[in-house]
């Protein structure tokens, strides 16, 4: 039986799709069977980040409407054989999603995979609420800045109200993934400290992903950052986060890209 995880944030552009792809790939590399599902109907991006945009035949809407079977819509990743993508439609919009249809698709995915990771769209309307509806766990993504944190707080409130689990009186597990964290800017006071963010959101921390040019490079290559450059700082941070998602205790660090040794020698030479 799978774990259904929703990756949500409220605010757009904070790193939900990047994180869905990176975490999904990291979990799959660890041997689990993973499907990443794009719920951003009409503005799909997960297929681009996964490098599958030229192989999309059927999508989530087709399966919801019964036009295609799940096995026809699922796209296997070329690099990791236990990693699959269920893309969204680009020509329709979120009104094409039905509650019953989504429930049926998630139930079918639960039977087939170890992890079902749902990439939520931004906002608080139908697309976002349907993406979170059947989740067992939620990863709330936030940048360390005020608008993102407030929007994430709203999402946490919605997770405790609009999910099937919450309606049954159970608690949905929520963890925080802080993305685009810039150590230098935080030190200068231009960005919120991790402690400030945790104080406002009050949920456990899953990981801190540093700001890095690697993320854009990876998405341009059509690859999750954990596959394109495993030793880069964001990739290492995502791999740690995936391990924590699996239940491992991993020390919380903020990996950096700096190559310390070279700098030292450079100064001495002068």
């Amino acid at each position: 039986m799978a774990k259904v995880v929703v990756v949500t944030s409220g605010k757009g552009g904070v790193g939900k799709t990047t994180s869905t792809a990176a975490l999904g790939a990291a979990l799959a590399q660890g041997g689990a069977s993973v499907v990443v599902v794009d719920f951003d109907v009409g503005l799909r991006n997960l297929d681009l980040v996964m490098g599958a945009e030229r192989r999309v035949v059927y999508d989530l809407i087709n399966v919801v409407q019964g036009v295609a079977r799940l096995s026809q819509a699922l796209i296997r990743d070329k690099r990791v054989e236990t990693l699959f993508l269920l893309p969204a439609s680009q020509t329709r919009d979120k009104d094409a999603l039905t509650e019953a249809g989504v429930a049926r698709v998630i139930a079918e995915l639960r039977d087939k995979f170890d992890w079902v990771i749902c990439d939520s769209p931004a906002g608080i309307e139908r697309g976002a609420t349907l993406a979170m509806r059947h989740a067992d766990e939620a990863i709330v993504v936030a940048n360390p800045e005020v608008s993102s944190v407030r929007d994430s707080d709203r999402m946490i409130g919605l997770l405790d109200a609009k999910t099937v689990k919450a309606e049954r009186g159970e608690r949905i597990e929520k963890t925080l993934l802080v993305t685009r964290y810039d150590v230098a800017r935080a030190a200068r006071g231009e960005m919120l400290d991790i402690e400030d963010v945790l104080e406002i959101l009050s949920i456990p921390l899953l990981g801190i992903i540093p700001e890095s040019e690697e993320v854009l490079r990876a998405s341009n290559l059509g690859s999750p950052v954990t596959l394109s450059n495993e030793s880069s700082a964001p990739a290492r941070a995502y791999i740690d986060a995936a391990r924590r998602l699996n239940g491992e205790t991993v020390e919380m660090t903020i990996p950096s890209d700096k190559k310390g040794l070279f700098r030292l020698f450079g100064r001495r030479a002068a």
Partner: protein
């Protein structure tokens, strides 16, 4: 989620009580969608249209009508609603039979709503029956509206509106003031008007006459 107003006959008296409540809690209905439950009245078309016009003149935004004779409704009137549920969790509907009745001051101890988790952004806690105590924080973009006092054992970052049913003796207490708006019995102060030296301190707010006083309680 919407508030339900249920007018009772005679309608003119009910409207007067509604005016009373609006006078005491300025802005209470602003931005709030309201459902009008006509179960206690029998109105024909023109009477219904008149009531709707009276409510609209008081800035009450009617999103729908419950328990009305479908024949009495027509174009230009709000739609007929069916199947409304009482809202679960935090939002409580104010008692529609007694709008504007002030909280008993010398009577039996009023009930208190206790929340043991933080109030998240976008959530609205409404408890006209008495005090509200939050063991946690009230997030920016959240609001707590109480008939009595409001006690926040954490940071108050959102809006707190105490004494919402005409209780000028209500107070607002919090461990850390970073509020967007404080209101007691309709008189309010926004964040801009709260002295900067009080920011992030433990404070209480109360009314002295028509002026809201805010002082540290460190």
């Amino acid at each position: 989620m919407a508030f339900v107003l249920a007018p009772e006959p005679p309608v003119a008296e009910w409207l007067a009580e509604l005016d009373d409540q609006i006078g005491r809690s300025e802005g209470f209905f602003i931005g709030r969608p309201v459902v009008v439950d006509l179960g206690a009245l029998t109105l024909n078309g023109p009477e219904l249209a008149g009531l709707v016009a009276d409510l609209r003149a008081r800035d009450v935004r009617i999103m729908g009508i419950e328990n009305a004779d479908p024949a009495a409704l027509g174009p230009g009137l709000p739609p007929l609603l069916t199947g409304g549920r009482a809202a679960p969790s935090l939002v409580e509907v104010p008692n529609p039979q007694t709008p504007g009745r002030p909280a008993a001051v010398n009577g039996p101890q009023p009930p208190c709503l206790l929340l043991e988790a933080s109030v998240r952004s976008g959530q609205s806690v409404v408890f006209p029956g008495g005090d509200v105590t939050v063991v946690g924080s009230v997030a920016s973009g959240a609001e707590v509206i109480a008939g009595g006092s409001i006690h926040v054992y954490g940071a108050l970052r959102g809006r707190a509106m105490a004494g919402s049913h005409g209780n000028a003796r209500a107070r607002i207490f919090c461990r850390r003031i970073e509020a967007e708006l404080l209101a007691i019995d309709g008189l309010y102060r926004t964040a801009d008007d709260i002295q900067p030296r009080l920011r992030s301190r433990a404070v209480q707010a109360w009314l002295e006459g028509d002026v809201m006083q805010i002082a540290a309680i460190d």
